[in-house]
Amino acid sequence: MLRFLMRRTLGAVVILLIISACTFFLFYAIPRDPALLHCGKTCDPESLEIIRRNLGLDKPLTEQYWAYMAGIFTGRDFAVGPCPAPCFGYSFASNEPVWGTILDRLPTTVSLALGGAVVFLLLGLGAGMLAAWRRGGFVDKFLSSVSLVLSSLQIYFVGPLAIALLVYQLDLFRQPEYVPITSSPVDWFAGLLIPWVVLSLIFTAQYTRMSRSTLIEQLGEDHVRAARAKGLSGRTVFFRYAWRGSLIPIVTIFGIDLGALFGGAMVTEFTFTLPGLGRLAVDSVLDTDLPMLMGVMLFAATMIVLFNILVDAVYALIDPRVRLS
């Protein structure tokens, strides 16, 4: 198991290197001069030259990439000040260190992602299991139709609607906002409740349909029929045999989804004006804030790769056949 994890981690490092190189060369090869962007409106050739030197833009591209990558591990010194490891450079837009900004935004994104995941896992898997248990019956048909409707909704449509209805009309919930859990757990919860629910709507629908179909597939497996032939009750067979087998596809998709959410839920963050990584990414695109964008991209990619390794490790827990090979 340890060997397996080490091998996968090494593989992940290689993947991340490739991703970083691709993003780096893609961004710095664009025809807009980063130094010019950094320089602002009152720019004269002299200060442009200084900025170029300060940013290391006068060096060859490969050398810049090397300096960037080395900086992540060893830190760098810029003219504006030292940048301790992990150094992703300074934002062009705010002059703040990129890593610091990411750390600032991370709690919002993690809160949103984890809370949303809890909601859609509970609702989605619950509804899927119920539908599979009562397959072909009224409950199944009802849940299937509901999930079909849900999956066709859009966050930017439901979000404002939910606020208008639940906050302004009925005054049931608080206006969405992010309050750090450390300062007030109650406010943290109340402020994120609507974003969690809205974010989970589409996921819930997706997980309902997926868990229903994999469970029904598992219920048709030979070993499930064999378990019934042993006299085990329908419930035991359902939970001990069919459910176990349906976990693999669910865990796979969940790992990908959670990894992606940790990199920022752009639409949800924008809809509810929550200061998370998704918003940060969009803002830095609009500002052509290359260091920031690069940092967020690398962070998001790392999250996805990391969760993929986790998923593989979980496979081995679920399916003993994976353990040996």
């Binding site: 060997r3 080490m6 091998r7 090494l10």
Partner: protein
């Protein structure tokens, strides 16, 4: 039925005068097992086929029998050059094709055809029967007199389907009919040799007999040589004049039909024959040989004779020295057996209990003899 073929048809059950068509010497196929840290290091080798000699004569049928994992299917694929051997030599009509490239193989591909076990997966579901059977002719640019379509319709009738099936799709046919389509496709190029890998194993009993009869007729009337791979000893006996018994990548015994079925010398051949359930038990032998345990892994085959771990006659020498595949005293010509302690006489009659000496291998390899009533 008249079908023109290049080679003159020859009578069944005679290989005298049949020229060697395909010869394999020391044929070997090892599959690497990749694994280990970082880069797929080779951590082991599956010795699927581990040095076998075979000759197929023109117009004759050579049967390859053995249990799963013995390497018979891999051998078939090597002989049809769908796989490249790891070692040894394959000669087709005097030409070395062991490592022949695609282009070098092109002319030979038309002469060696394959029939597969699963008629469901070996036919493209989106092609009509006409396209499937005519495909090989089109690819090889062969224009038979009267046109390809006429030839395909002829072939359909040859294999017992109607010419009107030309425009149908595979899913409209039953398993047996699909296997007939596969046979028609193999016949389309007038092959000299057909490698048939478990061609009837997936079929129901009544349909299996139809297809076996069809293959027999094809061989008899068109003079096509066959390598017939099957686990069913009775089917092989019915189809092949010569038989090779494989165990863990090696041939343990080979010879003409009568030698193998009436006078087998290798204990494994005895055990195989004895294990076949008889429709009329009273016709069969009264003594049964029951092997215990399973076939060992081809990754790490036993030293010396590979059968020794399940053999009731195994002695120390069996672990030390691999017996050569050779003609033993009392064997007919062409009947070769690889055994230090061969059996005598036909399978069946009671024999005194075998020696219990030798190291026990994994201990599971002993025999239980039961008197059946």
């Amino acid at each position: 039925m008249t079908v023109e073929t290049g080679a003159g048809p020859r009578p069944a059950a005679s290989r005298e005068g049949g020229e060697p068509l395909l010869t394999a010497e020391g044929l070997t196929k090892h599959f690497p097992i990749k694994g280990g840290f970082l880069f797929g290091r080779r951590v082991g080798t599956v010795r699927a086929v581990d040095g076998i000699d075979l000759t197929v004569h023109e117009g004759e049928s050579l049967g390859l029998v053995g249990e799963s994992g013995c390497g018979k299917s891999t051998t078939g694929r090597l002989l049809a050059r769908l796989l490249e051997p790891s070692g040894g030599r394959i000669t087709y009509r005097g030409r070395d094709i062991t490592h022949a490239s695609r282009t070098q193989l092109a002319p030979i591909r038309t002469e060696i055809q394959m029939i597969f076990q699963d008629p469901y997966s070996s036919l493209n579901p989106r092609q009509t029967v006409g396209t499937i059977i005519g495909g090989p002719m089109e690819i090889n640019g062969i224009d038979p007199p009267g046109g390809r379509e006429r030839r395909v319709r002829e072939l359909l009738e040859t294999v017992g389907l109607g010419a009107e099936h030309y425009n149908r799709f595979p899913h409209e046919f039953s398993g047996g009919q699909r296997q007939r389509i596969g046979i028609a496709r193999a016949l389309a190029l007038d092959p000299k040799l057909i490698v048939a890998d478990e061609p009837v194993s997936a079929l129901d009993v009544s349909i299996q007999a139809q297809v076996v009869n069809l293959l027999r007729r094809v061989r008899r009337e068109m003079g096509i040589a066959f390598v017939f791979i099957a686990h069913d000893l009775a089917v092989v006996r019915h189809f092949s004049q010569r038989v090779a018994v494989m165990y863990l990548g090696r041939i343990v015994e080979t010879g003409d039909r009568d030698s193998i079925y009436a006078n087998p010398r290798h204990p494994y051949t005895h055990a195989l024959l004895s294990a076949v359930p008889r429709v009329r038990p009273e016709d069969g032998g009264r003594t049964r040989i029951r092997l215990t345990g399973d076939v060992p892994s081809p990754v790490d085959p036993p030293s010396g004779c590979r059968f020794r771990t399940r053999c009731w006659k195994a002695q120390e020498v069996c672990a030390e020295r691999e017996p050569p595949l050779a003609r033993l005293d009392g064997n007919r010509e062409g009947h070769l057996t690889a055994c230090h302690f061969p059996e005598d006489g036909p399978p069946g009659p009671p024999r005194p209990p075998g020696g219990d000496g030798g190291d026990g291998g994994d201990g599971a390899g002993r025999v239980k003899r039961a008197e059946s009533d």
